[in-house]
């Protein structure tokens, strides 16, 4: 009876300690679990695979240090794919720290893939703009709306942006975010100009993402870290996404285990009570 009570009332600090331990283990020990690719990840991959040459992609985002474990592998996977397809892309950060994080990441991947700033990607820099008017501007005259990149270079001077006149020359927009905000892009980019949208939310926003996915307002989605891991699998480059998803599995198993334990205790103690009375 005492044990049954104990497993129903484990001190939260013990659970917290266990959690840190199970998350850390896969970081020390490398191994690979099987990964199945979901259709929504495939949807994004296929869209990127078919962006016509002569168009650019835009990677928007508002992620920060807090969600680095999810947003960074997602961004990295998309950037790698665009680099490999030779589709130039523009970084359009919606938060100041996102600008730095995405820029550093692009630099790092570019080194590996042999790409150059200005030719293969540009960073439009963080701007506080009301989305509706900004996208309206992109629809009218893209260079005049964006004006310059984050270093202050006029974007007409950047090779990657040559020939890009309006948002109609944008073949794909991916939004990498921990806070959602896809509905704005749906309204102002997809509904207004028909630009295909990919959505890379952190796992928390995933459930809400199925609504626009179901309504075909987005072409696909990379659900959190696991989405990044699946994308890495499609690209054939095992990265942090695949590695960290092992830690994730362990943490979730711990959680499932604890819930099951608590319920077993609850169930058994109730049965015991029933028997004694």
């Amino acid at each position: 009876m005492k044990y049954l009570l104990a497993i129903q009332t484990i001190d939260r600090r013990i659970m917290y300690l266990l959690l840190v331990v199970v998350v850390a283990i896969p970081m020390f020990v490398r191994f690979q679990m099987p990964t199945v690719v979901n259709p929504e990840v495939q949807g994004v991959y296929d869209t990127v695979e078919h962006i016509p040459h002569g168009q650019i992609a835009i990677l928007t985002g508002d992620w920060g240090a807090g969600t680095i474990a999810e947003s960074q592998p997602q961004t990295a996977a998309l950037m790698t794919h665009l680099f490999r397809r030779n589709i130039p892309f523009a970084i359009l950060p919606f938060a100041p720290q996102t600008s730095t994080l995405m820029e550093n990441l692009a630099e790092k991947i570019a080194q590996k893939e042999g790409k150059k700033y200005g030719d293969d990607w540009v960073n439009w820099g963080w701007r506080v703009v009301p989305l509706p008017s900004f996208f309206k501007g992109l629809g009218k005259n893209l260079p005049a709306t964006v004006k310059q990149d984050y270093k202050g270079v006029p974007i007409e001077k950047l090779k990657a942006m040559r020939g890009i006149k309006t948002i109609r020359d944008v073949g794909f927009i991916a939004h990498i975010t921990p806070v959602g905000g896809i509905s704005d892009l749906i309204a102002f980019a997809h509904e207004a100009y028909g630009v295909p949208l990919g959505y890379a939310p952190t796992a928390v926003m995933v459930a809400q993402g199925y609504d626009p996915l179901d309504a075909n307002q987005i072409v696909g989605m990379l659900p959190g870290m696991v989405g990044a891991a699946q994308y890495e699998k499609l690209l054939g480059i095992p990265g942090n996404g695949l590695r960290w998803s092992n830690s994730l599995s362990f943490a979730e198993l711990l959680m499932i285990g604890l819930v099951v334990l608590a319920n077993a205790g609850y169930f058994l103690s109730r049965a015991a009570k029933g028997a004694s009375s």
């Binding site: 939260r12 959690l19 199945v36 459930a207 199925y210 609504d211 696991v226 998803s245 979730e252």
Partner: protein, 305 residues
């Protein structure tokens, strides 16, 4: 606005390149603004409420009308079409549609009001920025009192000032002296790190919350628990491994846990969320409508002014 009025106004609102003259103009603005506020303070009591009501209504009208009025393209289509419906429309609203369709300054998806979207947004942002000091003052006041009166929280409160001063100093260096290092340290080394640490606390809390809440105590709690465990299992490779003995194709493949989890998220979950959101949208519409038309009730809205 007719062109007769727009021209002189446009001429008046010209940028003033001369700094001295500009300063004079600005002083004039501030004087006029002061006069305006002085005038407001003299407004008799019985006019105040109607003034607030109409200001709220007019402010709400801008975005509403910008959305509800047709854009140029629609006006063109209606005028050009010969269907009975569109002919009736042109006959009734021709006075409105014709100038809209012939205005060359407008893009196809704009009406007159769309031209000012950006300006209105900026003005809103700037005025909002001025209100920040309201909250800042409260914080400084509170912690200053703690420190000066050496209350129980004095020690901790002094760290508030340390953080504030550090960030302002670092920001000042970056903005006005062009030295970004300290600011980079204050943000990437401290602020964003604290943010990330605080954010990640949720991982711990989600475990303790689930451990406590997911018990088969009631039917509702059991449904919730079942759905949560199912979705969690479906998202990790171990879950996929559990049902990997099921075939990849065919009817039985639908029972593979990753597919069941997918299905739960995409069908019942999406439908339930859509249901909630329809209700919320209507609630928002009703509350917004009440505020717009000053029908809202409750202490703040009913107070005498």
């Amino acid at each position: 606005m007719s062109t007769g009025l727009a021209l002189p106004l446009g001429a008046f609102f010209q940028a003033q390149p001369n700094h001295k003259l500009n300063a004079l103009y600005i002083a004039g603005c501030l004087f006029a603004g002061g006069l305006f506020i002085a005038l407001l303070t003299q407004t008799p009591k019985r006019f105040r409420k109607p003034l607030i009501v109409s200001a709220t209504f007019i402010a709400g009208l801008y975005f509403s009308l910008e959305f509800l009025l047709p854009p140029k393209a629609t006006a063109e289509t209606v005028l050009a079409s010969h269907s009975p419906w569109n002919r009736t429309m042109s006959a009734l609203f021709g006075w409105f549609l014709r100038p809209l369709a012939s205005n060359s300054r407008l893009a196809p998806d704009e009406n007159w009001l769309s031209l000012y979207l950006e300006n209105v947004n900026t003005v809103w942002q700037v005025i909002g920025a001025f209100t920040f000091a309201l909250g800042l003052w409260n914080l400084i006041h509170l912690h200053f009192r703690n420190v000066v009166h050496v209350t129980k929280g004095a020690f901790a409160s002094s760290f508030f000032f340390l953080g504030l001063a550090f960030m302002i100093f670092a920001g000042y260096l970056k903005q006005f002296s062009g030295i970004p290092d300290l600011f980079a340290f204050a943000t990437s080394g401290l602020f964003f790190q604290l943010d990330a640490a605080m954010f990640s606390l949720i991982a711990f809390f989600i475990i303790s919350a689930a451990y406590r809440a997911f018990r088969i105590r009631s039917f509702e709690a059991s449904i919730m628990m079942a759905a949560a465990l199912l979705v969690m299992l479906s998202q990790i490779p171990v879950g996929a491994w559990l049902t990997s003995w099921l075939p990849d194709h065919g009817l039985l493949s639908n029972l593979r846990i990753e597919r069941v989890g997918q299905w739960v998220l995409r069908q019942p979950n999406a439908a339930a969320q859509r249901g909630i959101n329809f209700g919320l949208a209507v609630g928002m519409l009703a509350t917004g409508l009440r505020i717009w038309l000053s029908l809202e009730r409750g202490s703040y809205f009913e107070r005498d002014v």
